[in-house]
Amino acid sequence: MDTHVFKPDQPAPALSVGPLGWLRANLFSGWFNTLLTLLGLYLVWQIVPPLIDWAFIEADWRGETRADCSREGACWVFVGERFGQFMYGFYPQDQRWRVDLAVLLAVVGAAPLFVAAFRHKLRYGLAFLLVYPLLAWWLLHGGFLGLIAVPTSQWGGLMLTLVIAAVGIAGALPLGILLALGRRSDLPAIKVLCVTFIEFWRGVPLITVLFMSSVMLPLFLPEGMNLDKLLRAMLMVILFEAAYIAEVVRGGLQAIPKGQYEAAQAMGLGYWRMMGLVVLPQALKLVIPGIVNTFIALFKDTSLVIIIGLFDFLNSIKRATADPAWLGMSTEGYVFAAVVYWIFCFGISRYSQRLERRLETGHRH
């Protein structure tokens, strides 16, 4: 009986691994690839150094007026001077701590939901969702319990953008889920109503919806009754995004095998308990990425409220760039705005990807 003696592993040839191998495989694997690499390098060379030059090296950071911006690059003085307005709009300066506190409370309050080890996420989350809006309303709007009232017409900047986005998603998610259930319902009348509702909102641009809220809503309401401008915008955003959420959730409902419904019915669960305890938890888990994408879209869409004259983040920047004292600051203003929006959207999408991966591994076991 022979015993086979295995040969020891040999290192791979230098040209196929290591930095050299990597370069050869990824950048110079043929004349065409080499050409692409050179083209790419040229592009990077054309874009990156001038950008860094403009944004950092040649930029002005210190000063108070336009005259302090004497160098070639960006004038960040402008952003610094108007920072308060970009963040809070016309919120009274001595009251801005209330906004800060509300944001801080949101972050601290929501933090346990992101800690994997925390056990009572659902109960805590629901409690948070019930308590926080009241608290936020008291802090932001006030007018009772010792805080002076700050009417919504003074709200603005990034704060307003965040308020619209937060209220939008908080309202659109439950409504969207109900609509999705309605669309999948066996009751024909309910189904028709939901389908019509969803297809209507998905078929028109948000801008026309906002237009409608400012020109038609006053006609729809009883005489003398007037809705706050911000409230109207938020209502429209909720209805609009709910239709998109509904379609995402419907996708998840369709992916749940029939056996799950049958098993739930066999256990004697009624419709709402079957949905709430068995089907929806699974379906929502499946469509988290879709919901997050809708939320990112909603966040970007909040910028459209400019159309009806609300002073959200983008509008406050647009107004600031039109200020005669700061003419020619459009590039700085919009680049700053782009960076802020980008950080939010990219951050959310990265988080959802991580969540997705975690849920995926959870699924396999």
Partner: protein, 255 residues
């Protein structure tokens, strides 16, 4: 050296010759000094534990994988980076995959006529005649106008065999053709392969079907950790394995 290494009869052309072939995935050494000679009409079964480099070996032969050291010759032509040459060799070497890889957007007949029409430049009529001939050989001519998605796994794999045969290849490579099948469908595919073997086709087959190896193979090769550990005719291989590793492996898979 292993005494079972077949001697090349002088003057006989080798269909496949692998000389000191080495391959790495990154730093992982998957194939170590593989030497293999395949003569015309030979039927070789390659077996071994998973991850031993069996599939990689046969995938190197039609260059679905590139080796980094050593030489591979198919019908005396060395495999290089020359694309034209690779395409020419691929059209002479048929391959059947574990997961069938039929083209789902084409009917069974179109799956079979695609390459003959585009590579061999056959007229459609002729390509369809060839296709029907081989579909009959694998005993599913009646499915010709269905789509792959409408067939069972066993039927799909038989179509895949017919599709490869339509190119009239000189060598057929089988990469675990029955591993993805339900047990009751394994036999229909093996029967097709046995019939093919009887027609004198040169075959290289990665499989764990030892019954097939016994009845059909001229030579059984056992691979482990990227090396050819033992090769012998089936009689010797199954009843008097020379090597401890081989015996261990056979013990695991036969009982």
């Amino acid at each position: 050296m292993n005494p079972a290494t077949p001697q090349t009869a002088s003057g006989e052309k080798l269909m496949i010759e692998m000389i000191d072939v080495n391959k790495w995935y990154g730093q992982f050494h998957v194939l170590k000094d593989i030497n293999l000679q395949v003569r015309r009409g030979e039927r070789i079964v390659i077996c071994g534990p998973s991850g031993s480099g069996k599939s990689t070996t046969i995938r190197c032969i039609n260059r679905l994988e590139e080796h980094q050291a050593g030489k591979i010759l198919v019908e005396g032509v060395e495999l290089t980076r020359d694309l034209k040459q690779i395409e020419a060799i691929r059209s002479e070497v048929g391959m059947v995959f574990q997961h069938f890889n039929l083209f789902p957007h084409l009917t069974v007949l179109q799956n079979c006529t695609l390459a003959p029409m585009w590579v061999r430049k056959l007229p459609r009529r002729e390509a369809e005649e060839v296709a029907m001939y081989y579909l009959e050989k694998v005993r599913i001519p009646e499915q010709a106008n269905k789509y792959p998605g409408q067939l069972s796994g066993g039927q799909q794999q038989r179509v895949a065999i017919a599709r490869a045969l339509c190119m009239k290849p000189k060598i057929m490579l089988f990469d675990e053709p029955t591993s993805a099948l339900d047990p009751e469908m394994v036999k229909e595919v093996l029967d097709t392969m046995i019939a093919l073997a009887e027609s004198g086709m040169t075959m290289l087959c990665v499989t764990h079907e030892m019954g097939f190896a016994r009845t059909v193979a001229n030579r059984v090769i056992f691979m482990d950790r990227g090396e050819i550990v033992e090769q012998a005719d089936p009689e010797t291989f199954f009843h008097h394995p020379q090597n401890e590793r081989t015996r261990l492996f056979l013990g695991q898979i036969l009982y």
